[in-house]
Subunit: 262 residues, 2 copies
DNA sequence: TCTTCCGGGGGAACTGAGTGCCATGAGGTG
DNA sequence: CACCTCATGGCACTCAGTTCCCCCGGAAGA
């Protein structure tokens, strides 16, 4: 359980593609699907792939890593995406777009993703491994937000909370798509979920969840399209109880409009 | 890496205290602190404790479990706490109080918690294990919220997001306390963090974080004090831009009031 | 008192993941 | 041809976790 691919293994993001790696992944999944993850030993895999046992651990630091062969590259893409891009756009929208990068990776191989999903649901060890992967995504988002929120009161707290919320929403949409065996619209699912958190935390302010559904904005069907919205100063949020007479509500709104927010 | 304590090991919540268990924990931490976690083998531990190697795995399903000896009981306490308690109080406040149960466990043994924190920060395997523990807490919170939000539109999405936010906020406060070597006020740190998410998601609706600071409510300094607020169904939230004519706003409010939430 | 059962503990042996070390063999360069 | 490098294979080792079986002491029962 070494969790990351520390060792040599430079072949992950730069070089084209070692055939060895793919052969090992293919052999692994063939065996995992026909007899289960724990019932498959590394020796089984390498003998099926026709390579030496030592080579397996040259390409994958652990048996679990072979189940998530693309996450390392995806994490690198995400950090690169977050590093690029200036301070002008909305931080929350940017981390949402960063999360969409992960979705895109899943959506590139629907059948593979669905098979892996079934595996990770059944095998506790794989679920734990996936958690550590997700945690690294969340850390990347949170650290980006911490930079953007530096100076804000409770900046790191907000960063941690928003990063967690974005990851949770993304995973909610992703799992919904995976449970449909890849039949539903992955992008729509995740857009819907991310729109929810963006509505909650975004600079356009937020209705409390569970109030007005407020027709889905679906800010960006295609990944990596940072949506830059109007600043928060243009938004008025009114909270009221049912049963309050309308004239009180209007009065409240007018009072609020007089006074500059902030 | 078996992650949970499946086997026998009935001695966790009910029976008073097996001395064997405590002896193993004590021996483990003594060795972990003086020569590191990975440099300590299970044989080292059992020979120091003066027991058989087999007994170690009778009490702890894996080497990692000895580092978190109380989490199983705490998780049981949390699920019990969430199971008890009716539908009258605010769900978000209740999960915040549930999170405080975890804090209380940490705060009961400050030096132990700080030592463990230093360990988990250094050893990737322990960090991964801790993630799986935290995940189980988060699942417990999310499942409770899903029950409470059943019927709401996007109920499970809201439940997942809020559970993740609560856990993130709790951990933010907890880590802050742990980094201070247990010198700061753990309860205050976590209360502050949880107040933030409660302000964001709470039934009294929420100013977007980062807009109005809104004097800290500090809902409950003592753990397990469910603050019972008005149910969310009685609240209407309207979001609008400045400059929108008032009749449009009133129309929007009336439209919302017509339609039952849910 | 002897027997029988039982349950906690100890120990030997086994499986399998992961690592270190070295040999080999192919390809490239002087 | 000599030399180097690098990818691979093979072997042996450590250690976590499991399986199987033993021992022992105490309690119940004849």
């Amino acid at each position: 359980m070494s969790e990351v691919s520390r060792p040599g293994q430079a072949a992950d993001a730069t070089v084209p593609k070692p055939p060895m790696r793919d052969a090992l992944v293919a052999a692994s999944f063939q065996l995992f699907l026909e007899r289960g993850y724990e019932q498959t030993t590394v020796d089984d895999i390498v003998s099926l792939a026709g390579v030496g046992r030592r080579s397996f651990f040259r390409y994958f630091p652990s048996k679990e890593d072979v189940v998530f062969p693309d996450h390392e590259r995806c994490l690198a893409d995400m950090t690169e995406f977050l590093g690029r891009g200036g301070d002008e756009d909305d931080p929350v929208a940017r981390v949402c777009d960063a999360a969409r990068l992960v979705l895109r990776m899943y959506a590139e191989n629907p059948t593979f993703s669905v098979q892996r999903y079934r595996l990770t649901r059944k095998v506790p060890g794989l679920r734990a491994y996936e958690l550590s992967v997700v945690w690294r995504y969340e850390r990347a988002l949170a650290e980006y937000l911490r930079r953007r929120f530096s100076g804000r009161r409770d900046g790191t707290l907000q960063a941690d909370v928003i990063a967690a919320a974005v990851v949770a929403a993304h995973n909610n949409g992703l799992r919904s798509w995976l449970r449909s065996d890849g039949q539903s619209d992955a992008g729509a699912e995740v857009d819907h979920a991310l729109a929810h958190v963006q509505r909650t935390f975004g600079p356009t302010a937020a209705p409390a969840p569970g109030s007005t559904p407020a027709s889905e904005p679906t800010p960006a069907p295609t990944p990596a399209s940072t949506s830059s919205e109007a600043p928060a100063e243009d938004v008025v949020v009114v909270v009221s109880r049912r049963g309050v007479p309308m004239w009180r509500v209007v009065q409240e709104i007018e009072t609020t409009l007089e006074r500059p927010l902030d």
